[in-house]
Symmetry: C2
Subunit: 188 residues, 2 copies
C-alpha cells in the first residue's frame, strides 16, 4: 500500500538527521507522551517493565526493598492510551541493522496483541527508529501483519519500510511526534 506524498514527507523530515542519533528512542517517545499529556492532546503511557517479584525486604517501615525479582516476557505491547476518543496501542523498536528490521525483535505475543487490537477496532502500529539513517517511521499494524503473515521473509526490508512506513516528524517538545502522523494516516 502507498500513501500520497509519503516519499516527499520522508525527504523533508528525516534524511540523516544526525541530531537524533545516540538518543534513546524510548526516552524520545516518553518525552513526546509527556508533552501530549501536558498539552492535553492524548493520554498515552508506557507500561512498566513486567517483573516477577520473589523477595521483598522491609529495612524501614516506609521503604520496601525488592531483593529478588526476574524479568517476565511481556504479553502485550509497551504503550497504549487514548487519542481523540480512539484506543491506540503500539510497540516501539530501535533497529540498528542497515538493510532490514528482523521479526525476531518482536515477540509473537506482541504480534498477536496488535492483531487483536485491530480486530477490536483500535488503532495499532509500530514505531520504528532506523538508527543508521536517523529516521523514525510509523507502520500501521495492518500493513506490518500482512507482510509478516505472507512469510516472504523473516524481516522487514528497508525498502519496504520506506514504501509503507510513514515518516514521523521531529518537534522539540515531542521528538517523535507520532500524533501528527496518526491524524493523516487514520484521518482523525
Amino acid at each position: 500500500m502507498k500513501y500520497p506524498n509519503s516519499r516527499r514527507t520522508y525527504e523533508k523530515t528525516a534524511v540523516h538527521d544526525t541530531s537524533r542519533r545516540g538518543m534513546s528512542f524510548e526516552a524520545d517517545i516518553n518525552q513526546s507522551n509527556l508533552s501530549y499529556l501536558s498539552e492535553d492532546l492524548a493520554v498515552v503511557h508506557k507500561k512498566p517493565t513486567p517483573v516477577t517479584i520473589v523477595k521483598v525486604d522491609y529495612p524501614r517501615r516506609s521503604a520496601a526493598k525488592i531483593t529478588e525479582a526476574y524479568f517476565k516476557l511481556p504479553s502485550t505491547t509497551d504503550y497504549n492510551g487514548i487519542y481523540k476518543s480512539r484506543y491506540i496501542d503500539f510497540e516501539a523498536k530501535e533497529c540498528h541493522a542497515e538493510h532490514s528490521f528482523p521479526f525476531s525483535s518482536i515477540h509473537p505475543h506482541q504480534v498477536e496483541h496488535l492483531r487483536a487490537v485491530v480486530r477490536h477496532g483500535g488503532i495499532a502500529f509500530l514505531l520504528l527508529r532506523m538508527v543508521m539513517y536517523g529516521e523514525d517511521y510509523l507502520i500501521k499494524a495492518e500493513d506490518f501483519l500482512s507482510y509478516y503473515d505472507s512469510k516472504q521473509r523473516k524481516s522487514l526490508p528497508y525498502e519496504w519500510i520506506r514504501e509503507n512506513g510513514h515518516p514521523i516528524p521531529f518537534r522539540l517538545q515531542a521528538p517523535v511526534d507520532y500524533l501528527k502522523v496518526l491524524d493523516q494516516v487514520y484521518d482523525l
Copy 2:
C-alpha cells in the same frame, strides 16, 4: 444519579455471596480478563507493578536476576484496554470497611488519570469490592468524580455506593463480569 432497576439487580446478584469471600479481587478480575481474551470479547490487561530497577545480576547468560529494586507510585490506573472499539480504563479496589470507601485508598494521580480519560472520550470507572458484604460494584468515573469534587466527605458512603454503583454479576468463567455492566450502563 439513579439508574433504573439498580436496586433490583443489586438484590438479585450480590447479597452476602459468601462464596466470593477471601478470594482476591485482583485474581478474579484477571481471570475475567483472561476469559474475555479467550472468548475474544475484549482485550484488557493489568499493567505490571511499576518498579525502579537499581541492580541486576547475571548469574547465567540466560537469566538476569534483579537484586535491588523499589516500588514506584503508579501514575495511572491498573487496567486498560479495548472493548467494542472503545477505550476502557479502570482502577480496582477492595474495601474492607463497612460503612464507606475512603478516598485515601486512591492516589490523586489515579483520580486525575480517570478524569483525563473521561475528557478524551474514554470509558473510565472504578471496580469496587465491598468485602464485608460480598458485593462487587462498577462506579462510573463521572459519578465518582462529581462526589469526590464536591468535597462533602473523604469517603464514599456505602449508601451512596448502593444508590450510584452498578452491581457486577458473577459468572464462573468471569467472576467479575464487568463487561455485562458496561453494555447496560454505557449502552454498548
